[in-house]
């Protein structure tokens, strides 16, 4: 058997060796608190500010517009609650397929009296910008739409939604956790006021992320207790993590474009291989407007988790679209919103490729996946006439 093949890069990634090397000194001699006045503190502060610069350069924004948080989840929470808190009441527009960090936050705000519109998506997972325009009310205070969906990889038309928001003077928040460092983001052209982005999806460490806040965006802070991050986010910064994040972004800047081309080709080859070897399989997500490495497929009459377990036993790591918790299977809410029929949605599997994947990895996956699906189908009463 071949070694292990990791095809779950939308979940998390392996930290790049150069990133690890960049972080190490900040666990060691540069351990100071970046808020301290002395030399120890200044050294830590220097690492923090270099990272901020690396990220600001990458996004082509001012350093002051980038703050660090503990993860994409916190960035989403801060962006949404921050804007909502500054306004006190009003209406928020989002979509049905956002990450839970956005959906649950919006639901909490609904409980506090805010109104929220959850826009539908089409069969490819796209939000219609005209729907956004129609949903705007006089009291709309925020539009929050993700850049790419983590499950199916569909890239939303943020470039069309942003200008609508800008025209009406409504701040536009984009959850860019799955696109940052993978596909270009033009904050100015897309009309983005707030962008969430995370480190561990792009070969940086976990528990570090950022939020871009365009100058002049009115927000309140969500956690209190210090003057850190320009009073936007209290708490001593995770210096080694942030240093690693900055390094990861610097590497993405030089590797991103070529890798996007390579991963798209690899993913398309994977899909073509599956299609030619397995019957009753469908692709989920937009055929072309999709994250380079993301392949979400449904195998009819097979249950997602049995495929995930079967592949795991062959050393291949993928993720299941539907998750069975406490004997209650939730077919993916994203696939449901896209109108994928239930008997297909239950068999969805997501493979997400990344920088260390090779042609051999895909060959191996294509060798083990089709017989597994066939075997599971042979056990299933639904597939047997």
């Amino acid at each position: 058997m071949k070694g292990r093949v990791y095809l779950d890069h939308n979940a998390s990634t392996q930290v790049h060796p150069e990133v690890v090397a960049a972080m190490l000194p900040y666990f060691g001699e540069r351990f100071g608190n970046p808020s301290s006045v002395h030399g120890f503190g200044r050294e830590a502060r220097e690492g923090l500010e270099i990272a901020r610069e690396q990220i600001a350069d990458f996004l082509r924004v001012a350093k002051e517009e980038v703050i660090f948080t503990s993860g994409g989840t916190e960035s989403d929470n801060l962006a949404i609650k921050g804007v909502a808190g500054a306004r006190g009441s009003g209406h928020i527009i989002t979509s049905q397929i956002e990450h839970h960090a956005v959906l649950r936050t919006c639901e909490v705000l609904e409980g506090q009296g805010f109104a929220v519109t959850y826009l539908p998506v089409d069969g490819d997972g796209l939000v219609n910008p005209d729907d956004v325009r129609r949903a705007i009310r006089p009291d709309t205070i925020l539009i929050t739409i993700m850049h790419a969906n983590s499950e199916v990889g569909t890239i939303e038309p943020v470039e069309a939604i942003g200008p609508i928001a800008r025209e009406r003077g409504i701040p536009f928040h984009v959850d860019g956790v799955q696109t940052f460092g993978k596909v270009p983001i033009d904050l100015e052209r897309f009309g983005i006021a707030l962008l969430s982005f995370s480190s561990h999806k792009i070969y940086g460490p976990k528990g570090v992320a950022g939020l871009y806040i365009r100058k002049g965006t009115k927000m309140v802070s969500v956690q209190h207790g210090g003057e850190h991050e320009r009073r936007r986010r209290a708490g001593t910064e995770n210096v080694p993590g942030i240093v690693g994040f900055g390094k990861a972004v610097e590497i993405r800047a030089r590797e991103m474009d070529a890798e996007a081309v390579r991963l798209t080709a690899l993913r398309n080859r994977f899909w073509a291989g599956v299609q030619s070897r397995v019957q009753e399989v469908r692709l989920n997500g937009h055929p072309t407007r999709r994250l380079p490495g993301t392949l979400n497929m449904c195998f009819r009459h097979v249950e997602s988790e049995s495929i995930v377990l079967g592949l795991d036993l062959k050393g291949v790591g993928v993720s299941a679209g539907s998750a069975c918790t406490s004997g209650n299977v939730e077919p993916s809410y994203v696939l449901v919103a896209m109108g994928v029929p239930l008997d297909w949605a239950m068999g969805s599997v997501r493979a997400t490729l990344g920088r260390e994947n090779t042609d051999e990895d895909i060959d191996y996956a294509l060798e083990v996946l089709p017989p597994l699906v066939e075997r599971l189908r042979s056990l299933s009463p639904a597939a047997v006439p």
Binding site: H301, L309, L313, T325, N328, M346, L379, P381, A382
Partner: protein, 134 residues
Amino acid sequence: MNYSETLIDHFRNPRNAGMMREPDGVGEDTFDGCGDLARFYLRVVDGRVVDVRFQTYGCGPTIAASSAGSELATGRPVADLVAVSEQDVTAAVDGLPDERLHAAQVVAGALRAAARDYLSRRSAPSGSEVRQHA
């Protein structure tokens, strides 16, 4: 998720998978919301299960529990099988994580349904029995 070696073995190499022609008893059970479905076919001689086949749609644990359940049923008196419990099936796969206990529930339910089907056919011939968890 951490699964026992026994469970993994049954998932990799399911015993007694498939259909049975003209079985003496058939029963199935499904798990609401989950979509998991197990169906068992029994061959019975002198009140004792001599052969079992199963067909299952579901997650790995449900497939493994079906295989283990088929072994558990083989050789048993039908009178026993009507009382097979979720715990019996859980034990047969060397334990299940809490979030996957439904696997044993579906399999035990389907085995009991098949046993009852056999018994009811003997008293008054009728169709196979299908049961659903509430």
